[in-house]
C-alpha cells in the first residue's frame, strides 16, 4: 500500500523478441547474465510462453531465477532487462473476457500500459503450476 492507500506492485520489466513483459519482482530471486550454460531447471522464455516455432533472437540473454515456494529451482532466460517500476493495481488492465481463459493458460494475467507501450504481465508461478500439472498427467 502506498501513502494514498493504494495497492502497489514492483514490476520487473523486460522484453523478449520485441514484446514487453513484466513480472512481479517478488517472483524474481536473482538476475544473472546468461553464459551459455544448459540445465534442467533453465528454460527459454519463448518456450515457456509457447511462442511456437517462431524464431526469437535474444540480444542480451539474462537468466531470472524464479522464487519458488517449494524451493524447487526454476530459471527462465529472458532478453533485455528494461526497468523495475512501482505501479498501482488500478493501472493494471484485465484481458477481455473472451481472451482471458487463453491468456491465463499461458500465464498472462493482465496488461499494463507504460509510456505508450503495452506490457504483458506474466505469472511464472502459474506457468510452473501448469507445467507440473502437465507433467503429472504424463506421468513425469
Amino acid at each position: 500500500m502506498n501513502d494514498q492507500g493504494e495497492t502497489v506492485l514492483n514490476l520487473l520489466l523486460f522484453s523478449v523478441g520485441g514484446v514487453y513483459f513484466g513480472i512481479d519482482s517478488e517472483q524474481a530471486a536473482g538476475i544473472n547474465a546468461y553464459q551459455g550454460e544448459e540445465a534442467g531447471d533453465l528454460f527459454w522464455f519463448h518456450n515457456e510462453m509457447g511462442f511456437g516455432d517462431a524464431t526469437v533472437k535474444y540480444l542480451s540473454p539474462t537468466v531470472i531465477t524464479i522464487r519458488c515456494p517449494d524451493g524447487q529451482p526454476y530459471r527462465v532466460i529472458i532478453d533485455l532487462m528494461e526497468d523495475i517500476r512501482e505501479i498501482t493495481a488500478t493501472a493494471i488492465l484485465p484481458f477481455p473476457p473472451l481472451l482471458e481463459p487463453f491468456a491465463l493458460r499461458k500465464g498472462m494475467w493482465g496488461v499494463l500500459p507504460v509510456e505508450g507501450r503495452m506490457v504483458l504481465l506474466v505469472d511464472f508461478m502459474r506457468i510452473l503450476r501448469e507445467k507440473r500439472v502437465v507433467a503429472a498427467r504424463h506421468g513425469g
Binding site: N10, L12, S25, E26, A28, A29, G30, I31, N32, A33, S60, T62, M81, I84
Partner: protein, 665 residues
C-alpha cells in the same frame, strides 16, 4: 506504159468506186458482145449466103423445067407431034417462081428479055423455028449461069455442093441442049447426001461436046460423092442412068438410025433432066443441112455469149458488191477514226485484199489506239513533269539568284580573305617567332617537369609513411574498442547487480527503500556507462571507418601519385619529344608563313576566278530564266497535246472513256 495509162488513170481517179466498176464492167462486156456480134453476124451471113443459094437452086430447077419444055417443043417441031410439056405452062411456072424469088436474085430484066424470045410453037420444023428454039435455049442457059452467079452458087465453099452446083448449072443443061441438038442434027442426015456434009461435021462436034460434058459431069459427081459419103448413092445412081442413056445415044449416033436417034435422043435428054431433078434436091438438102448447122452453131454461139455475158454481169455485180461492202466497211471505219473514234472495228468476212486491209486497218486502229493511250499517258507524264520542271526551274531560278548573290558575297569575302591572308602572313611570321620562344619554354618545361618528378617521389614516400601511421591508428582504435567492450560488460554486470540490489531492496520492504534508491542510481549509472560506451563504440566505429576510408584514400592517392610519377616520366619523355615537335612546328610555321604568302597570291587569283564564276552564274541565271520560259511553253504544248489526244475515243467494248483514261483535269 505509164504515159499510155495516164488518161485512163485520171478518168478512174475522178470517179467513185461504183462508177469505176461500172466503167470497167462495160469495157469488159463490150468485147464479149462485139465478139458475139461478129460471130453471129458472120454465121448469119453464111446462112443468108446459103439461103440465097437455095433460092438459086429452086430458080435453076424452074429454068431446067422450061429448058426441058423448050427442048421437047423443039423435038416436036422437028419430028412432029405435040410436046409433052407445054412451053407456056413451063414459062408460067417460071414466072411464078420468078415472082417469088426473082426480085431476090435480080432476075426481072433477064426474065422479061427471055419472055420476048419465046419461040412460036406453031412455026413448024423450019430452020427459023428451030433457031428460035436454039436461041431461047441459049438464053435459058445464060440465064441459068446468071442465076448461079447471083445466088452465090458459083462461090459455094463446100466441095460436095460446089461440084453438084457445077453439074447442075454448067454441065447438065448444056448436056441436054447438046444431046437435043445432036439428035436433031443426026435426024437431018437422012435427008440426002447434000445434007450430010455440014450436019455430019456438026454432029461430030456435038458428039465430042457430049463426051466432054459427060466426062466433066462424071468428074463432078465423083468428086462430090468422094467428099460426102452420105450423098454418094443418091448422086451416083442418076449418073449411072445418065451414062447408060448417053451410051445408047452414042451408039445410035454411030448407027445413024433416025428412029432410034429420035427415041434415044429424047431418052438421053430425059435422062439428063431426070438426073438434074434428082441432083437438085440433093444440093438443096446439102444447103439446108448447112443452114441448119449454121443456125445451130449460131444458137450455140448466141447462148454461150449470152451465158458468158450474164455470168460476166453476175460476177461483176458480185465483185462490185463484195468490194463495195469491203470498201464501205473500211470507209465507215475510217470515217469514224477520222472523227477520233478509235473504238471502231471494220468487220468483213471476205478473205481478199480488202479483207486483209480490214484486218490490217483493225490492227492499225488497235496499234493507233495503244499509241494514243500510251501517248496520253506519256502526255500526262510530260504534263506533270513539265509542271514539276517548271516549278523546279522556278526554284532553280531562285537558287540561281541566291547563288549569284552568294557568289558576289563569296567574291567580296574572298577579297576580304585575300586581305586577311596578308595579315595571316604577317601573323604567321609572329607565330614563327612565338614558336621559337615556345621551343625555349618547352625545354625549360621539360627540366621543371623532371624536378616535379623528384618532388612527387618525395610526396609518395611521405604518403606511404602516413599510410603506415594511419593503419597503426586503426589498429589502436580497435584495441580501444575492445577496452570499451570490457567496460560495457562491466557496466552490464553492474546493471545486473543493480537490478538484483533493487530486487533485494524491493523484497526488503520499507527498510530496503534507501538501498533501492542506491540500486536504482547504480543501475542508471550503469545505463549511462552503457550508453557512453555505446557512443564511444559508435565514435570509434566512425573513427575506424574514417581510418579505413583514409587508408583507402591514401592507397588511392599513393596509386595516383604512382600514376603521376609515371605520367611525369612520360611527360618528360613527351616534352623531350615535344622539343623535336616544336622544332618541327617552328619549321612548319615558317612553311606556313611561306604558304600563306602563296595563299595570298592564290586567293587573289580565286577572287578573279570568282568574278568569272559570278559572271557565269549570271549567265546561268539568264539561261534558267530562258529554260523556264521554254518549260512553260512545253507545259502549254503538253496541255494542247493532251487536249488533242483526248479528242480520240479509245475505250474498250462497253466503255466510254477519253484517250487519257481518266477525267480531264
Amino acid at each position: 506504159m505509164k504515159l499510155l495509162l495516164r488518161p485512163a488513170k485520171q478518168l478512174m481517179n475522178s470517179l467513185t468506186y461504183s462508177r469505176k466498176m461500172f466503167v470497167a464492167g462495160i469495157f469488159l462486156c463490150i468485147p464479149t458482145l462485139l465478139l458475139a456480134y461478129f460471130l453471129v453476124t458472120n454465121i448469119y451471113e453464111q446462112i443468108t449466103f446459103s439461103a440465097r443459094e437455095r433460092i438459086g437452086v429452086r430458080y435453076a430447077a424452074s429454068l431446067d423445067s422450061l429448058l426441058q419444055a423448050v427442048i421437047d417443043s423443039r423435038y416436036a417441031a422437028v419430028w412432029g407431034g405435040k410436046p409433052r410439056i407445054p412451053v407456056d405452062q413451063a414459062l408460067a411456072g417460071l414466072a411464078e417462081v420468078d415472082s417469088a424469088l426473082g426480085v431476090e436474085l435480080g432476075m426481072g430484066e433477064s426474065f422479061k428479055t427471055l419472055k420476048t424470045k419465046l419461040p412460036d410453037p406453031r412455026g413448024g420444023a423450019t430452020l427459023q423455028t428451030i433457031g428460035a428454039h436454039d436461041t431461047f435455049a441459049a438464053e435459058l442457059l445464060e440465064m441459068k449461069v446468071q442465076v448461079a452467079d447471083r445466088s452465090n452458087l458459083t462461090l459455094d465453099p463446100d466441095i460436095p455442093s460446089y461440084y453438084l452446083m457445077d453439074a447442075l448449072i454448067t454441065k447438065l443443061p448444056p448436056l441436054a441442049e447438046t444431046v437435043s441438038r445432036a439428035a436433031i442434027v443426026a435426024s437431018r442426015l437422012s435427008g440426002g447426001p447434000e445434007s450430010q456434009v455440014g450436019n455430019r461435021a456438026e454432029l461430030l462436034l456435038l458428039s465430042g461436046g457430049i463426051n466432054t460434058l459427060v466426062d466433066a459431069l462424071k468428074k463432078d459427081i465423083r468428086t462430090a460423092a468422094g467428099a460426102d459419103a452420105k450423098i454418094r448413092d443418091r448422086i451416083q445412081k442418076p449418073l449411072l442412068e445418065l451414062e447408060t442413056a448417053m451410051a445408047a445415044f452414042q451408039r445410035e449416033l454411030k448407027g445413024q438410025r433416025t428412029v432410034g436417034l429420035t427415041r434415044s435422043g429424047m431418052e438421053a435428054t430425059d435422062a439428063v433432066f431426070r438426073a438434074a431433078s434428082q441432083l437438085s434436091p440433093v444440093l438443096d438438102e446439102l444447103l439446108g443441112s448447112r443452114i441448119s448447122a449454121l443456125q445451130l452453131k449460131m444458137s450455140v454461139y448466141l447462148s454461150l455469149s449470152l451465158v458468158a455475158f450474164l455470168l460476166g454481169i453476175y460476177f461483176n455485180l458480185a465483185c462490185y458488191l463484195s468490194v463495195k461492202e469491203g470498201i464501205s466497211a473500211v470507209h465507215d471505219a475510217a470515217r469514224k477514226v477520222s472523227s477520233g473514234d478509235l473504238t471502231v472495228e471494220a468487220r468483213l468476212s471476205s478473205k481478199d485484199e480488202i479483207g486483209e486491209t480490214c484486218g490490217m486497218f483493225n490492227t492499225m486502229t488497235e496499234n493507233l489506239r495503244r499509241i494514243i493511250v500510251t501517248l496520253a499517258e506519256v502526255t500526262e507524264k510530260i504534263h506533270a513533269n513539265s509542271g514539276a520542271i517548271a516549278s523546279t526551274m522556278d526554284q532553280q531560278s531562285g537558287f540561281a539568284t541566291q547563288l549569284s548573290s552568294s557568289v558576289v558575297e563569296i567574291s567580296s569575302t574572298m577579297e576580304e580573305f585575300s586581305s586577311t591572308a596578308s595579315q595571316i602572313a604577317l601573323h604567321s611570321q609572329a607565330v614563327v617567332e612565338r614558336a621559337d620562344k615556345t621551343l625555349e619554354d618547352t625545354k625549360n618545361g621539360a627540366a621543371e617537369v623532371e624536378n616535379l618528378t623528384f618532388k612527387v617521389n618525395d610526396i609518395s614516400g611521405t604518403i606511404q609513411a602516413n599510410l603506415s601511421e594511419i593503419v597503426e591508428l586503426g589498429r589502436k582504435s580497435k584495441e580501444i574498442n575492445k577496452v570499451m567492450e570490457i567496460i560495457n560488460n562491466i557496466a552490464n554486470q553492474t546493471k545486473l547487480i543493480a537490478f538484483n540490489a533493487a530486487l533485494e531492496a524491493a523484497s526488503a520492504g520499507e527498510s530496503g527503500k534507501r538501498f533501492g534508491v542506491v540500486a536504482v542510481e547504480i543501475r542508471r549509472l550503469a545505463d549511462s556507462v552503457v550508453e557512453s560506451t555505446s557512443e564511444i563504440e559508435g565514435k570509434i566505429t566512425e573513427i575506424l571507418d574514417a581510418v579505413n576510408r583514409l587508408v583507402m584514400s591514401s592507397e588511392k592517392s599513393f596509386q595516383l601519385i604512382q600514376e603521376g610519377q609515371d605520367y611525369a616520366s612520360h611527360t618528360v619523355v613527351m616534352l623531350i619529344e615535344s622539343v623535336d615537335g616544336v622544332e618541327e612546328t617552328t619549321s612548319a610555321a615558317r612553311q606556313i608563313s611561306l604558304s600563306t604568302q602563296q595563299q595570298q597570291i592564290a586567293s587573289s587569283q580565286v577572287v578573279l576566278a570568282l568574278k568569272d564564276i559570278e559572271q557565269g552564274v549570271r549567265f546561268s541565271t539568264d539561261s534558267i530564266h530562258r529554260t523556264n520560259g521554254v518549260t512553260e511553253e512545253l507545259f502549254n504544248l503538253s496541255e494542247q497535246l493532251r487536249d488533242l489526244v483526248m479528242t480520240f475515243k479509245v475505250g474498250r467494248e462497253g466503255e466510254q472513256e477519253t484517250a487519257s483514261g481518266v477525267e480531264p483535269r
